[in-house]
């Protein structure tokens, strides 16, 4: 086929308008396919958690995250072999100015929290301030930027799950390779505010760190076994699995994405097959001439298929490029940011997109090419379009 490369390129460029429209059409669809595949990968096939994340687990009530555990569990979890650090992991909820301002607000125990989040970057004096100020809070850089917060600012979160308003002072802004959208506050603040109520010793969940990643399944089981017969049975999940359980909340997203990917692929196949057969039909006479010149059926077949692959490949490359840009945009969207933290147009997604493009070029051209290459010389020369 490579012998005829220049012929392939020439015939591809002959009807420039058609070729560019086809390339554009394939590019747009493939760009979409690329973005969807990147989403699918980020959600369901995402690569290994970071080394620090692989050590972390979340312990919550077996029934649901909304049912609290009791704070006495903390000491018991700490005694389980292999557990390095344990902190409260309390969803504070509440409203910051307007219900639309949605971001995660978590109450933790600062000293244990710094052990758990070893990857967190923050100046030492800010760490000290968070450790010592009961009403202190720290925010990720993205979050602080979004609301224009500076260290020292007062932040009031109106309580809903908790019947009090948290009057917080921002004492630090952290950077973290995985998440810069969370506000952390001190669990001690909640405990004191809830003193003398039944909820003083309740904790939503615990954040646990193992001393090595391999021990995580074993520790999870040990924790769940410990509390299996208590009034508050637990479910311990790796941090990654915990995050994924929220995604299942969006409905059957896996099916939704797969169905759309299927529809898009089929649409490109139609578009491409349509164009190829249009261009082959126009060229029946030419095929007759090529045959007269001594080109074999196989030669002609490979020239036509080659042209289709050339066009689809160009569309695929352009589409992948567009998708790479678009993925960056989707990642920045505030609504999706939490779910698509791992979203990236990686080389394997790009390879898959190109693979689909080339496959479509091949499949869509085979039938018209087969028909054209088998037309006899006389018949094709007689053909008038």
């Amino acid at each position: 086929m490579f012998r005829y490369l220049s012929l392939i390129v020439k015939s591809g460029l002959r009807n420039r308008r058609r070729s560019s429209l086809t390339i554009l059409s394939i590019a747009v669809s493939l760009c979409l396919l690329g973005v969807l595949m990147a989403m699918y990968r980020a959600l369901f096939l995402s690569d290994q958690p970071s080394p620090a994340q692989a050590l972390r687990m979340i312990v919550h009530h077996k029934v649901s995250l909304t049912v609290p555990l009791i704070s006495a569990y903390e000491a018991k979890i700490r005694q389980i072999p292999g557990v390095k650090a344990v902190s409260a992991y309390q969803w504070f909820g509440g409203v910051y100015k307007d219900p639309k301002n949605f971001f995660a607000r978590l109450a933790v125990e600062p000293d244990e929290f710094f052990k758990l989040k070893s990857e967190l970057q923050m100046p030492e004096e800010q760490r000290q301030a968070f450790l010592h100020l009961r009403t202190g809070c720290i925010a990720g850089v993205t979050l602080a930027q979004k609301y224009g917060w500076k260290v020292g600012d007062r932040i009031t979160i109106v309580g809903d799950i908790f019947p009090f308003n948290a009057e917080l002072t921002l004492v630090g802004v952290y950077n973290d390779p995985e998440d810069t959208d969370t506000l952390y506050m001190n669990q001690e603040y909640i405990r004191q505010a809830m003193q003398n109520t039944t909820r003083a010793d309740q904790i939503g969940a615990f954040w646990v760190q193992a001393d090595n990643a391999a021990a995580v399944p074993e520790i999870s089981k040990a924790i769940d076994d410990e509390f299996a017969n208590s009034p508050y049975p637990t479910k311990t999940e790796s941090e990654k699995a915990f995050a994924l359980s929220f995604i299942s909340f969006l409905g059957n997203l896996r099916l939704f994405l797969a169905a759309i990917c299927g529809a898009v692929t089929f649409t490109i196949l139609l578009v491409s097959a349509n164009t190829i057969s249009m261009s082959v039909r126009e060229r029946v006479r030419e095929v007759g001439i090529l045959k007269t010149l001594g080109f074999t059926t196989g030669n002609i077949l490979s020239i036509i298929v080659g042209e289709a692959i050339f066009i689809a490949g160009a569309g695929g490359a352009l589409g992948s490029l567009l998708a790479a840009f678009l993925v960056g945009g989707v990642k920045k969207m505030p609504m999706t940011a939490g779910f698509f933290r791992d979203l990236a147009f990686t080389s394997d997604v790009a390879a898959a997109a190109m693979g689909v493009a080339l496959f479509i070029g091949l499949v869509s051209s085979l039938l018209p090419a087969w028909g054209a290459s088998r037309t006899s010389i006389l018949e094709s020369l007689k053909y008038t379009g």
């Binding site: 429209l21 059409s25 509440g94 809903d160 969006l250 529809a263 898009v264 139609l270 578009v271 164009t275």
Partner: protein, 387 residues
């Protein structure tokens, strides 16, 4: 004079393979859009039909959903005597104190378990909703019995009629299945207020109060009275508004779906353009002949544009056919406000199909305009000479 529409129709039939392929491309795009719109419409209906215009939901100030609101019995006692609340035939004010919890059950879609809303309420609360029982009977006060919504019964094998469910402090028997029409109540499980509250140690902190106003006119005044009473520290909203806010649960899927259909539409328009350019190129002689016969450039332009529109309408209708099997299919998505699953049916309604065909027409218009202009601009002599 206009070129007869039959000319375009015949042309589409003659090139039937190309026509069908292009139309199918448009059809798939339309089908994706329709699926998304049908999902959002079904979800909206589920929430809309959950609300009674006379109902007011009372939660604690700051509570955004029943799940994170706490109302004590004392508050309830002073709240139910407020003026403007409707009275039952037996003379009791129609105000229902309720407790809402979330329980986890394995569902057909998710064997590891999905969250379901559990509501504890009294016979009065049941009566205020006017629901019909599909089978069985209502739960008896003081018994560990529950009635499940029909979607819950469908989607959770462990919660069918006669089954026993384990939650709270022990086993509960399913004694009835209720039908809430299309409403969100179909996705709930109901039990006796006292029993549910004691299983979750919530006797002193229940969730919300559902109040029925005397008539439509008294709704705003009653809400004002409730909000103004500082001792109660509650916030009243209409049931309608409460459910409207929850429609936001469908927003991520809606955003994704619309994003996908717009990009697909751009791709399909290019394909339609390609097809129309080919049609113009193949019919150069015809165009020349038409001009010789006296048809103006404008009528040629209009004729080709119309042909593109016809092609896209065909695609739009095909798309409707493709999306129709989705109608009434039951599915569920997580409700971020109640932390539990809401079941609903896809609704492929007529307005949605009209929207789909309009969307197809837009693709056809975008794809057809340039080729039609090219056809109109052809000079008679050169057109006739082209082969």
């Amino acid at each position: 004079m206009a070129i007869p529409i039959a000319y375009n129709l015949r042309n589409l039939v003659v090139r039937r393979t190309t026509t069908l392929m292009t139309a199918l491309g448009i059809a798939l795009t339309v089908a994706v859009l329709l699926a998304v719109l049908a999902l959002v419409s079904g979800l909206r209906t589920a929430f809309r039909s959950s609300a009674d215009p006379l109902h007011i939901l009372v939660m604690r100030v700051g509570g955004t959903s029943e799940l994170n609101s706490v109302i004590t019995n004392d508050v309830y006692q002073s709240l139910k005597v407020k003026p403007g609340i409707a009275v039952s035939p037996s003379g009791e004010p129609l105000a229902s104190l309720e407790v809402v919890q979330v329980i986890n059950l394995p569902s057909v879609d998710s064997p590891t378990g999905m969250n379901v809303t559990l509501r504890g309420l009294t016979t009065m609360g049941v009566g205020m909703r006017h629901l019909r029982l599909v089978s069985g009977r209502w739960f008896a006060p003081g018994q560990r019995e529950v009635v499940v919504g029909k979607s819950t019964a469908n989607r959770y094998p462990g919660a069918r009629m006669g089954e026993r469910i384990r939650f709270g402090k022990g086993l509960w028997t399913v004694v009835g299945v209720m039908d809430g029409g299309h409403s969100a109540l179909n996705s709930e499980i109901w039990g006796d207020l006292g029993q549910v509250a004691s299983d979750y140690n919530r006797q002193d902190g229940l969730s919300s109060v559902l109040v029925q106003a005397q008539d439509k006119a008294s709704v705003p005044a009653l809400m004002q009275t409730l909000d103004d009473d500082q001792r109660l520290n509650v916030k009243a909203i209409t049931e309608q508004e409460y459910y409207d806010r929850q429609t936001i649960s469908g927003a991520p899927l809606q955003a994704l779906g619309i994003f996908v259909s717009i990009i697909m539409a751009v791709g399909s328009s290019f394909a339609a353009m390609n097809t129309m350019y080919a049609a113009v190129a193949r019919r150069a002689t015809e165009i020349g002949t038409l001009r010789v016969l006296g048809f103006s450039r404008a009528s040629i332009l209009f004729s080709f544009f119309l042909e593109s529109l016809l092609l896209s309408v065909l695609g739009g209708l095909l798309g409707c056919v493709l999306a129709l099997p989705l109608n009434n299919v039951e599915t569920g998505i997580g409700n971020f406000m109640t932390f539990s699953e809401i079941a609903f049916n896809f609704q492929v309604t007529v307005p949605i199909m009209v929207a789909g065909v309009t969307f197809a027409l837009l693709m056809g218009a975008f794809g057809g305009l340039l080729p039609a202009r090219m056809a109109a601009k052809k000079e008679i002599l050169t057109a006739l000479r082209e082969t």
